[in-house]
Symmetry: none
Subunit: 241 residues, 2 copies
DNA sequence: GCCGGCTGTTACACAGCGTTACCAATTCAC
DNA sequence: GTGAATTGGTAACGCTGTGTAACAGCCGGC
């Protein structure tokens, strides 16, 4: 239940990043900063993000272009975006919202105002029913079927495998990042929405429990491989749909 | 997103309260009764109310005074009020409307007439949809049929399943947000119009009761799944027709 | 007024999860 | 190559969250 929302602040100005991070952290959010699109994408790749605060004007790829890319990517198409801009022109607002931003804030703004918008957007984001959106798909791997809408896993012979909430979340993290080494920290973030504390072994234990349910031979795992010193690797190819 | 409107009937005459509650409930509204201003305020404090039906003449604080207080309170200043009065004098009408009531009905009146006024005021108050929209629809899931107008649930084999008011409201909350994890807080808000207090287990108990009536095997629920640390998930796809 | 159903609260049982501990496997130091 | 150190697997345990029976209070029906 301590699923504190994870915000990603993308701004090339380090001072602003720091300021916003501190402020938002003090108000109960988990905040990651990114100075450009590359860092943003890297973070999105490896962590669960609930909302992105995105500066419009940035060197390199600008906010509009990034926002467009976010919307074009299935994994992030639903992630709310709040745009920041130095200019107060109305056209920006239009363009920003047309680009798929959920809200818009003109600099200079008070952190308090951003906080209000963040809360509002998050509330709104969890409001409307999903309907036939991107969420609710079914994923397959090596004959297994994972139903995201029903939170159900079926083995290749069609048997419903009972997973606990934690096992299911962990499996989703793997299935959504297949054939990539995921560190314990990343897994913890993806599956639990928290970051690791020193000597945290909970992921190891959970992986062990999950293997027991989906590996033919848990003692010699083939789907969830251990990468010594690195983390874990989900080896099967995943078919989406 | 649109829930069944929540009406608050304030009248010191218990017979009238009961009569109106039954009638309005049968026509698809959620109704709470209050015998005086104190009860009214208590309800408004803890639940979201869409419209208040307020008797003008009451012992203690009367309707006019209560209406004035409603208008002076920011939270309720926008809540529509329909005044009831035993006297047919025109002056009352004037005073009532000046006091901020949205409509006025002289006793004796037919419940049907009140129903029409309630729908009209709600339509006026909240723009396009509501009453006419949410009320009157029928939703289906896995063979079940939920009649929003009659507040009735039919099982796949056509049998009418008796639900208490609370069970029905909870089910509506689920059906209107299918395939999404809803926190206890959200459910409490959607179904009861109030927010959770620490150690609030009422939703758990109500879910348990609802499962007993709609799950094939309540011990191994498939429609209403528990998400540990998250809340509950209504898994069936809902057809809105 | 009394009765019956509904709802929230409480209490207890049970299962999931994180922590710890211990062991095995691997790597490192020499 | 050998022993030490590091890393990972997992059994065991305790805390926490959830299911639900039992109870009590409230409200409406009569």
């Amino acid at each position: 239940m301590d699923r504190t929302p994870h915000l990603l602040v993308v701004d090339d100005d380090r001072e602003i990043r720091t300021l916003l991070s501190q402020f938002l952290t003090r108000h109960g959010f988990r905040v990651t900063g990114a100075k450009d699109g590359v860092e943003m994408m890297r973070t999105l790749d490896s962590a669960r993000v609930d909302l992105i605060v995105l500066d419009l004007m940035m060197p390199g790829e600008d906010g509009l272009s990034l926002c467009r890319r976010l919307r074009a990517t299935p994994e992030t198409a639903q992630t709310p975006v709040i745009m920041l801009t130095a200019m107060g022109e109305e056209t920006d607002r239009i363009v920003g919202l047309e680009m798929g931003a959920d809200d818009y804030l003109a600099k200079p703004f008070s952190p308090r105002e951003l906080l209000a918008r963040v809360k509002a957007v998050l509330r709104r984001a969890s409001g409307p029913p999903v309907a036939g959106g991107a969420v609710g798909k079914t994923l397959g791997f090596e004959g297994w079927t994972l139903d995201l809408a029903k939170r159900e896993l079926r083995s290749p012979d069609g048997v419903l495998v009972q997973l606990s909430a934690g096992e299911y979340d962990l499996l989703v993290a793997f299935v959504e990042h297949p054939q990539r080494v995921l560190t314990r920290d990343q897994l913890l973030d993806l599956a639990r929405g928290r970051s690791a504390v020193p000597f945290d072994r909970s992921i190891d234990v959970q992986v062990s429990r999950l293997r027991r349910k989906i590996e033919p031979d848990p003692a010699d795992p083939t789907m969830i491989k251990t990468v010594r010193g690195g983390g874990y690797l989900f080896t099967p190819a995943v078919t989406g749909g």
